[in-house]
Amino acid sequence: MLKRSKTILAYLIILTMLLCSCGEAYKDSSASPAGGPSGGSQSEQSAKENGDSSAKEQGAQEGSEGQKDSQTANSSEEAGTEGSIEENSEPADDGRKTTGFIDAPEGYFENVLFIGDSRCEGLRKYGGIEGPDWFTDVGLSVFNIKDKAIAMEEGAEPVDLETVLSSKKYDAVYIGLGINELGYDISVISSRFSDLIELVRSSQEDAVIFLMANIHVTAARSESDEIYNNERIEELNTAISMFADFDTIYYIDVNPLFDDGGALDGEKSFDDVHIFAKHYPEWSDFLRAHAVVLKERAQ
C-alpha cells in the first residue's frame, strides 16, 4: 500500500512538473480576437487570401532564400528603411531632376494619385488629405491591379488604372500595396511591382513615384502567422525599396510612427493589422513633410 502510494505520488509530481513547464500557455496575454488580416471592411480581402493559399506555401520557401542575396547586395535598401527621412533632404544641384524631401507646397495634393489597398483606404477616409485621386480598394494587389475597376467618385462609373493614368497628368503617384500579396514568392511580387511602376511611368513621365512601405502587423499577429508576419513584410519592403532611385522614385516608410520594437504597437490597432482611424492624420502629416517636386517646378 505504502509503496503504491509512493509510486503514485512520484508520478503525480513528475506530471505536475511537466505541466507546469508549459506554464506560459496558462498566461492570458491576448487582448482581443483578431481575424484573417481582416477587419470587417476586409471581408473580401480575407476571402481572396484564403482562396489564394495554394501558391503561397511553396512561394514562402523560395522567398526567404532570395532575401539573403538581396540583403548583402544592395546598400540602398538600408537607406530605404531608415534613412528615407534624413537622406537627400537638401535640394542641392546634384544632377537630379527633383528637389528631395520638402514640405508640401500649397495645392500639392490636388494633383496627386494614390494607388493602394485597405490601408490606403484608411488614409483616404481618415487621413484628412483633401484633393488627391484615390485608386484604392480593399483587396487590391499587384496581381489584380490591371484588371480592377474602381469608381473614383461616388456614383461614377468604375474605371481601370490605365484609364486613370492616361486621363490626367499627375505631379506625384503614391503606391501602397503589398499586404495582400504576402503569400506569394517575393521575387514574383517584385516583378509585378516592376510592371506596375513601368505602367505608371509610361503615362506619367514627369510624376514623382512614391513607394510606401507596408505597415507592420502587431507582434501577437506576427508570432502566430506563417504568412502575415513582420519578417515577410520587411522582406517585401526591402524588395520594394530597391526600385527607388531617390530621384524620380522614392521609398518612404511610416513604420517608425506606429511601431513598438519592430512590430505594430498593439495599442494602436484593434485587429492587429490596421491602425486606428485617429492615427491616420500622423501618416498624412508625414506625407506633407516629405513631398517631392520637380526642380523646375519648385520656386
Binding site: 500557455a25 481575424g35 486606428f276 492615427h279
Partner: protein
Amino acid sequence: MVFSSFHFLLIFLPLFLAAYYICPKRFRNACMLLFSMAFYAYGAWKTPLYILLFAASMLANYAFGLLTESAEGKKKKLFLTAGLCLDLGILVFFKYSWFLRLMPFKLVLPIGISFYTFQSMSYLIDVYRGDAKAEKDPIDLCAYISMFPQLIAGPIVRYTEISAQLKDREYTLESFVSGVRLFILGLGAKVVLANQIGGLWRDVKTIGVESVTTPMAWLGLIAYSFQLYFDFCGYSLMAIGLGRMAGFELPRNFDSPYVSVSMTEFWRRWHITLGAWFREYLYIPLGGSRRSKARNTLNLFIVWVLTGLWHGAGWNFLLWGVFLFLCMAAERAFLLKRLEKHRLAGHLYMTLLIPLSWMIFATDSLPELAAYAQRLIGAGGLSVYAKDWSEALGTYAKLLIPAAVLCTEWPARLYRRYEKHPAVCVLLAALLAASVYCLYAGMNDPFLYFRF
C-alpha cells in the same frame, strides 16, 4: 472546438453519432462522456492541466454528492459547503483572481468553467435539499456535467431535469431528425447571420470608437445587438439539436427575447437557464421578494451584479450588472405594469435599452465606454469619416433587415406550423449549404459567449 467548424461538422459529429448508435444502449452514457472529454481536450490541448482540473472537479462533485446524501445534520451541511467551496473556488481562482488583484497576471480561462461549475453546484444543492438523489454511477454524473452539446455554451442543465433521461431515454427517428433540423437552423443563425453581421461591429472597433460618426455608432450597436442575438440563438438551437440527436431533451434557453416589452421579461427569454439558476439558488434563498422592501432591493442588486460578473471578469460587466439592476428595480417599482399595458411604448423602451445595455457589455474599458457614449450623442470624435455609416448600410442592410424580421416571433411560429413541409426541407438544405460556404470562405467566428 466550436460547433460551427469543419472539424466538428465533418469529423467529430459523424464519428460520435456512429459510435453512439453502434454502442448498446447501456454504454451510451460512457460514449457521450468519452467524446465529450475528447471535445474538451481538443479545445484545451495547450493547457492540459485544465483537462485534469475538469475531470478532477467532476469526480470531486461525484464524491461530495454521495457524501452529502448519506450524511445527517451538521455533517450534511459541511459536505455541501465543502463541495460548493471547491466549485466556487475553482471558478473564482481561474476566472476572477486577476480582476480581484489576487494574482499578478491573468490566467487563460478554462473552457466552459462558468457552465460546468454552475451545473455542479446546482447538483450538490439539489442533492442536499433532497430534490434529487445522488448519482451512484460516476460515468452518468460525469456524462451529465461534461455533455458536449451544452458544455461550452449552455444551457445550464439542472440535474433533476436530466436524471431520468440519463437512465432511460427514447431514441426515435423523428426526434433525431427534428434535432438535425434544429441544428441546421442554429448553424445558419450563427454562421450566415451572426458571423456576417459581426463584420459591422468589428469595423467599428477597427476604426476605433472615437472615430465613428454618430449614425455609425448607433448602427454599430444595432448590428452588435443582432450579432449577439443570432450568436446565442444559434448556439442554443445547436445545443438542443445535438441533444435530441443523442436522445436527450435539453431545456430551452432562448425564446425570442427581442419581443420583450421590459427588461424583466427579457431576462426570462434570454439565457433562460442562467436566470433560473440565479433565481433558484441565490435569489430565493436570500429571501427573494418576500422580505422588506429594502432587503428585496438588496437581493435584486446582488443577483444582477453577479449575473453581470458571471459573463466576464471586468469592470464593464460589473457596470452592466448594475445597469440591469437599475432597470429591474425601476420596473418592479412602477414601470412594469405600464409597459405591459402599453406594449408599443414597451417595445420602444426596449429598442433603446437593448443596444445601450449591450454597449456596456461590449466595451472593454471604462474610457472606451465613455468615448462610445459620447459618439452616440455626437460629442467627442477624432478623425471621423462622414460617409462611414452610409457605406456600412450599403454592405450590411441586406443582412440587417432579414435579421430584424427574424427577431420577431413569426419565424418561430411559421416554422412550428410548417416544420414537416417539403419546402422547409429544401430551405434547410439550402441553409446548410450556405453555412458550409460561409465556413469555407473563412469568415471569422467570434462566439461572444465563448469566454465564459
